[in-house]
C-alpha cells in the first residue's frame, strides 16, 4: 500500500535526524573503546507456547522456529523505541510495529497466526469466530464475532462497536488522520457522502450492517477477495462509542485484548497489565505471560541496542534492525551474533523507471537499465547480505504469490560489470536508439543515507554503458507529495529514475502490486506508481485476480502479473530487505513473523 506500514516504519528510522546521526557516529567510537558483554547463550524449554517448532538459540533461529519457547508467567517485558509511534489508538496508526503490538490490547476481526515461517502468513479469526463469508461475487462479506466478549471495563463487545471503529478510523480525518482509509475506498458510501461519526450524529455508514450483536455485514463497491486481510487491520478492533473522545481516546483506550493500559503518556511511553475481563476460552491465540508490559519511547537507537544486549530491555519495538554501529559490533562477536535474527522485512528496494520521461519512455531503454545495474554493488552499498538479498522479482519472498524467476539475468547479478550484462545492455540501448547511452536524473531521499548509497551504486553501474545519471536528493517528508510521487514534477524535472522502497499492508500480491503497478492508482500527488505504468493488460489482470474468490487461482495470478509487468520493465528490483534484530536471553517465545517482518509480539514473555 502507499502509506505502506513498512515505509512509514522505515521513515521512523530516517527521522532520527542529525542529532541521532551524530550520536551514532560517536557511538562507534564509544563501542570500540568499550566492549559490551553479553551473558552467553540461551536455553530452550518446552511448554504450551505458540504453534511452531522450538529452536536452539543461534543466528537466525527466530526465523526458523520459536526461541526460548516457554509458558512461564510473570515478570515485566520492556519494549523500547527510538522514536514515537504515530499513535497507540488502534484506529489511528499506520506503523507495522504498532499493528503487531496493538494486538496485545485489541482484537481485530482476523489476524495472522502467531507462528514462525510461512505459517505466520496464515490468517485466523480473532474477534470473529470464523473467516469472512463472501457473497454477491465478493462484494458482500459477513462475519460473526465470538459470544460473550467483554472490554477491559467489563462492558460487552458488540458488532456495533466494530462498525463504529471502522467509521471513526476511515471517515473522520479531522481527528484521526494517521491510518489508512481502505474501508473508505472499498465500502459503498452514503448519499450524500458520510461525514464520519463526529460530524454526522444522525446515523452511521449504511454499507456496514449489524443485524444483531454478533453479526456484521460489509457491502463493498467492487469485488474484493482480500477482504479477510483488510479486516486484520486494527481499524476493526472494537471501540465503544460512549468512551470515544476522538484524538484523546489514545489516552484511555478500552482494551479487548489480553492486556490493558495501566498508564499512557504521550511521547514518553505506556504500561500495560493483564486484562481481568479477557476470557482465554474466547481466544485461541493469546496468553497472559508477563505481569506487566512497559513501552518506552524516544530511547536512542544505540541505547536500545545496548539495553537489549545487556538484558535491560526485551524488545526493540520498531523491529527495523540495529543501528549500524551496534550491528558491526554484534556481528563481529560470535556469542552476540547467536542472538541475531536477520528478519525478512517484506519490503522491496527498487529503482522505478518513468514510462513518461524520455528516453526511458522506450521499453528498450528501460531494459538496458535492467541489464546494466550491478546488484552486487547495490547490496554492498546498503551494508551487505545482512541488510538485503538480491532481488529479481517485484513480489518479495514473503508475499503470497511470490514466484522465483529472473527476466533480466546477468552473471552473478553483476550487470554491466559482467561481460554478458554489458553486452545485453548495449544491445538494448542500440534498439532504443541510444547506442552510446543517454543522460537522466535519479531521485533519492536525502535523509536516507542508505538509499543515497544505493543510488550512487546504481549511478556507477549505469556509467559503464554510457548512461550518465545525475542524482537528485529530496527530503523524505515531501518525496511522495511533491517530488517523485507527483508526476508533473517528475516530467518537468526529467526524473527518469526514482529510488523507492515498498512493503505491503497485507502480504498478498494485491496488497503489494496494486498501488505500484495499476494505472488506475496513478495520482497527481502522493503517487506510488512512480513509473506511471498504465498497461491495460496488467490493469485487467489485477482487477480479475482481486475479484477471484478462489484462493489458489488468485495466488497464482499474482506471480503471473509480476512476470507480465516485468516485460514492460517499469522498475528494477534490487533487494529484498532484511533487518537484523537482536533477541535477548531473557525473552521467551521469540520468533519472526513474516506478516509484519519483525518479531511477533503477541506471546513474548520473560524468564
Amino acid at each position: 500500500m502507499p502509506g505502506s506500514t513498512k515505509r512509514v516504519r522505515r521513515r521512523t528510522g530516517g527521522r532520527r535526524g542529525k542529532t541521532a546521526a551524530i550520536i551514532a557516529v560517536a557511538a562507534t567510537g564509544a563501542l570500540v573503546m568499550t566492549s559490551c558483554g553479553s551473558s552467553g547463550g540461551s536455553s530452550t524449554s518446552s511448554g504450551a507456547g505458540p504453534s511452531g517448532s522450538s529452536a536452539k538459540a543461534e543466528f537466525n533461529a527466530g526465523n526458523k522456529g520459536i526461541v526460548n519457547e516457554s509458558d512461564h508467567a510473570g515478570g515485566t517485558v520492556t519494549y523500547q523505541l527510538s522514536s514515537t509511534p504515530d499513535s497507540m489508538d488502534p484506529g489511528n496508526t499506520y506503523y507495522a510495529f504498532m499493528w503487531d503490538f496493538s494486538r496485545l490490547y485489541t482484537r481485530a476481526l482476523t489476524t495472522f497466526q502467531p507462528a514462525p515461517g510461512q505459517d505466520g502468513l496464515k490468517l485466523v479469526p480473532d474477534l470473529a469466530s470464523g473467516l469472512g463469508a463472501p457473497s454477491d461475487g465478493g462484494r458482500t462479506w459477513t462475519y460473526h464475532i465470538r459470544p460473550d466478549l467483554k472490554y477491559s471495563d467489563g462492558t460487552p463487545i458488540t458488532t456495533a462497536d466494530v462498525k463504529y471503529a471502522v467509521e471513526r478510523s476511515n471517515f473522520a480525518p479531522e481527528a484521526l488522520s494517521n491510518g489508512p482509509t481502505y474501508f473508505h475506498q472499498y465500502l459503498q458510501d452514503n448519499t450524500p457522502a458520510y461525514q464520519g461519526p463526529y460530524k454526522d450524529k444522525t446515523g452511521g455508514l449504511n454499507s456496514i450492517e449489524t443485524p444483531d450483536a454478533t453479526t456484521i455485514v460489509f457491502h463493498l463497491n467492487q469485488p474484493f477477495a482480500d477482504f479477510d486481510y483488510l479486516v486484520s487491520s486494527p481499524e476493526t478492533a472494537p471501540v465503544p462509542q460512549a468512551k470515544d473522545n476522538g484524538s484523546d481516546y489514545v489516552k484511555n483506550v478500552v482494551a479487548s485484548g489480553s492486556y490493558m493500559f495501566a498508564s499512557y503518556q504521550d511521547g514518553v511511553g505506556a504500561s500495560l497489565v493483564k486484562n481481568p475481563n479477557w476470557n482465554p476460552a474466547s481466544d485461541p491465540i493469546r496468553k497472559q505471560y508477563p505481569d506487566r508490559i512497559n513501552v518506552q519511547f524516544n530511547i536512542a537507537q544505540t541505547t536500545v541496542d545496548n539495553n537489549l544486549i545487556a538484558g535491560n530491555a526485551t524488545m526493540d519495538l520498531a523491529g527495523a534492525g540495529m543501528a549500524a554501529a551496534t550491528q558491526a559490533t554484534v556481528l563481529g562477536n560470535p556469542q552476540q551474533k547467536a542472538h541475531v535474527d536477520d528478519a525478512v522485512s517484506g519490503a522491496l528496494a527498487y529503482v522505478a523507471m518513468s514510462t513518461n520521461v524520455a528516453p526511458l519512455d522506450n521499453v528498450h531503454c528501460r531494459q538496458a537499465v535492467e541489464y546494466a545495474i550491478d546488484k552486487q554493488s547495490v547490496q554492498t552499498a546498503t551494508g551487505g547480505p545482512i541488510r538485503g538479498e538480491i532481488a529479481s522479482t517485484i513480489l518479495p519472498t514473503s508475499v503470497s504469490g511470490y514466484t522465483p524467476y529472473n527476466a533480466y539475468p546477468t552473471t552473478d547479478n553483476k550487470g554491466a560489470n559482467s561481460p554478458d550484462g554489458l553486452q545485453k545492455a548495449k544491445d538494448q540501448l542500440a534498439q532504443c536508439g541510444h547506442p552510446d547511452g543517454f543522460s537522466t536524473n535519479l531521485s533519492a531521499r536525502s535523509d536516507r543515507p542508505n538509499e543515497v548509497a544505493i543510488a550512487q551504486a546504481v549511478q556507477a553501474s549505469l556509467k559503464q554503458v554510457g548512461i550518465n545519471v545525475n542524482i537528485q536528493q529530496y527530503p523524505s517528508g515531501k518525496y511522495f507529495t511533491d517530488n517523485a510521487g507527483a508526476p508533473a514534477f517528475v516530467h518537468a524535472n526529467d526524473l527518469g529514475l526514482m529510488m523507492m522502497a515498498w512493503a505491503p499492508d497485507w502480504p498478498t500480491g494485491y496488497g503489494f502490486l496494486e498501488q505500484i503497478l495499476d494505472g488506475n492508482a496513478i495520482k497527481a500527488s502522493g503517487n506510488s506508481n512512480l513509473s506511471e505504468l498504465n498497461d491495460p493488460n496488467v490493469n485487467q489482470m489485477l482487477a480479475a485476480a482481486i475479484s477471484n474468490t478462489d484462493n489458489a487461482a488468485r495466488t497464482a495470478a499474482w506471480g503471473d502479473i509480476d512476470k507480465a509487468a516485468m516485460q514492460q520493465a517499469p522498475l528494477v528490483p534490487l533487494l529484498y530487505r532484511l533487518d537484523p534484530l537482536y533477541r535477548p536471553d531473557a525473552a521467551t517465545n521469540v520468533f519472526v513473523t513474516p506478516a509484519y517482518g519483525m518479531y511477533d509480539y503477541l506471546l513474548v514473555g520473560t524468564k
Binding site: G3, A26, L176, N178, H184, S247, N298, T303, N312, T481
Partner: protein, 336 residues
C-alpha cells in the same frame, strides 16, 4: 530599583513577542514564500494518499486555510485567552496558556510540555549545583595555587571537559557505567515525588556528564577572574589590614570574581531549561529538549513554536534575575 525591574520586565515581554513572531514567520511564512501551498503543508499531517475531503478537513482544522496574520493572532490569542478545537466528538477547550494542538497527534501541546518540564528542571538544576560547586572550587584553588601540580592537572582536565562534545562523553559514560559495569543499568527518568532515591540514581550519570562540560568552563573562568582580582590593590589593602586570608579570598576576592560567573550562569541555566537537547537525547530523558527534537523531526509546528517560546522565556527571565543579582553581589552596582 523597582522602576528598573518594571522596565526590564516590559522589555522582556516585548522580546518574547518578537521571538514568537520570528519563529512563526520562519515556520509558516517561509514555506509559503518558497511556493508551498496550504494543501502541500496539510499533506504532511495526514496519512499517505489522503482523499481531497480528508486534505480539506485537515487544512481547515490546522488553520492553513486562514491568512497568516489570522493564524498568528489565533496563536497569540490562545496563549492568553485559550482556544476551542474540534478533534473529536465534541468541541474541546484548550486552556490558557494554549500553544495549540500538535498537528501530528491532535493533542494539546502545553500539557505535554508541563509533563516534561520536571525532567528538564531536574537535569538542569542538579547539574548546575554540581558544576557551580566543583567549577568554582577548582577555579579558586587553582588560582590560589597557581603553577602547582593541582593547578596544571585540573586545568588540563578542564580543557578536556570543554573540548569533548557532550554526546561523546555521554555515550562513553553510558557504555562504561550503564552497559559494561551496570552501575546505573537501564537508565530512565523516575519522578522525584515517586521515588527520590531512584530519581537521583537515574540522574547521576546525566548530571555528572553535563556538569563535566560546564564545571570545566567555570573552573577556567573562575581561575582567570580570581587571578585578576587577587592582584587588585584592595586585596593587598585587606591583607595589610590584617584580615583573615579566608575572608580576603571569599568576601573580597571571590565575590568580585563571581560577577562574570553569575552572568554566564544565568545564560547557561536559561538555555538548559529550554531543553538540554543533546543530553536528554543521549540519555533518553523525556524532557523538553527531547520533545524539541521530536517536534523538529516531525515538523510539528505548534510543538516547535511552544518549545521556542518557552526557551526564550527562560533565557529572558534568567537574564533578568542575573541583572538583579548584580546589586547583591557587587556593591558598586546601583540601578537608578
Amino acid at each position: 530599583m523597582g522602576a528598573y525591574v518594571i522596565r526590564r520586565t516590559l522589555a522582556a515581554i516585548l522580546l518574547l513577542f518578537v521571538v514568537s513572531a520570528i519563529t512563526f514567520a520562519i515556520f509558516f511564512l517561509v514555506p509559503r514564500l518558497a511556493g508551498e501551498s496550504s494543501s502541500q503543508l496539510a499533506a504532511q499531517y495526514v496519512g499517505r494518499d489522503p482523499s481531497p475531503e480528508a486534505l480539506a478537513a485537515v487544512k481547515k482544522n490546522l488553520g492553513f486555510d486562514q491568512p497568516l496574520y489570522t493564524q498568528y493572532w489565533q496563536f497569540i490569542h490562545g496563549i492568553f485567552a485559550g482556544r476551542t478545537f474540534h478533534y473529536g466528538p465534541d468541541a474541546s477547550h484548550c486552556a490558557v496558556p494554549c500553544f495549540g494542538y500538535s498537528f501530528k497527534t491532535h493533542l494539546p501541546v502545553w500539557p505535554q510540555i508541563t509533563q516534561r518540564l520536571p525532567v528538564t528542571l531536574s537535569l538542569a538544576f542538579g547539574a548546575a549545583v554540581i558544576w557551580v560547586f566543583t567549577g568554582v572550587t577548582i577555579g579558586v584553588i587553582s588560582a590560589l595555587k597557581r603553577g602547582s601540580i593541582f593547578d596544571r592537572l585540573s586545568m588540563g582536565i578542564a580543557l578536556a571537559g570543554v573540548s569533548l562534545p557532550i554526546f561523546f562523553t555521554a555515550l562513553v559514560s553510558l557504555s562504561l557505567f550503564s552497559y559494561k559495569w551496570a552501575i546505573f543499568p537501564n537508565l530512565h527518568y523516575v519522578p522525584l515525588t515517586q521515588d527520590p532515591v531512584a530519581w537521583a540514581k537515574n540522574l547521576v550519570l546525566p548530571w555528572v556528564t553535563l556538569a563535566f562540560l560546564y564545571s570545566a568552563l567555570y573552573a577556567r573562568l573562575t581561575r582567570a577572574g580570581m587571578l585578576e582580582t587577587m592582584a587588585e590593590d584592595y586585596i593587598r589593602t585587606a591583607r595589610a589590614k590584617g584580615l583573615n586570608e579566608r575572608v580576603v579570598v571569599v568576601r573580597h576576592g571571590l565575590r568580585a570574581a563571581l560577577t562574570p560567573i553569575v552572568t554566564i550562569f544565568g545564560l547557561d541555566l536559561g538555555l538548559l531549561l529550554g531543553g538540554a537537547v543533546l543530553t536528554e537525547t543521549a540519555f533518553s530523558l523525556p524532557g523538553v529538549g527531547q520533545y524539541a527534537v521530536q517536534a523538529i523531526n516531525e515538523n510539528d509546528l505548534p510543538k516547535i513554536m511552544a518549545v521556542t517560546t518557552l526557551a526564550a522565556f527562560f533565557i529572558v527571565i534568567a537574564n533578568l534575575l542575573v541583572d538583579i543579582l548584580y546589586v547583591v553581589l557587587d556593591p558598586r552596582v546601583r540601578y537608578s
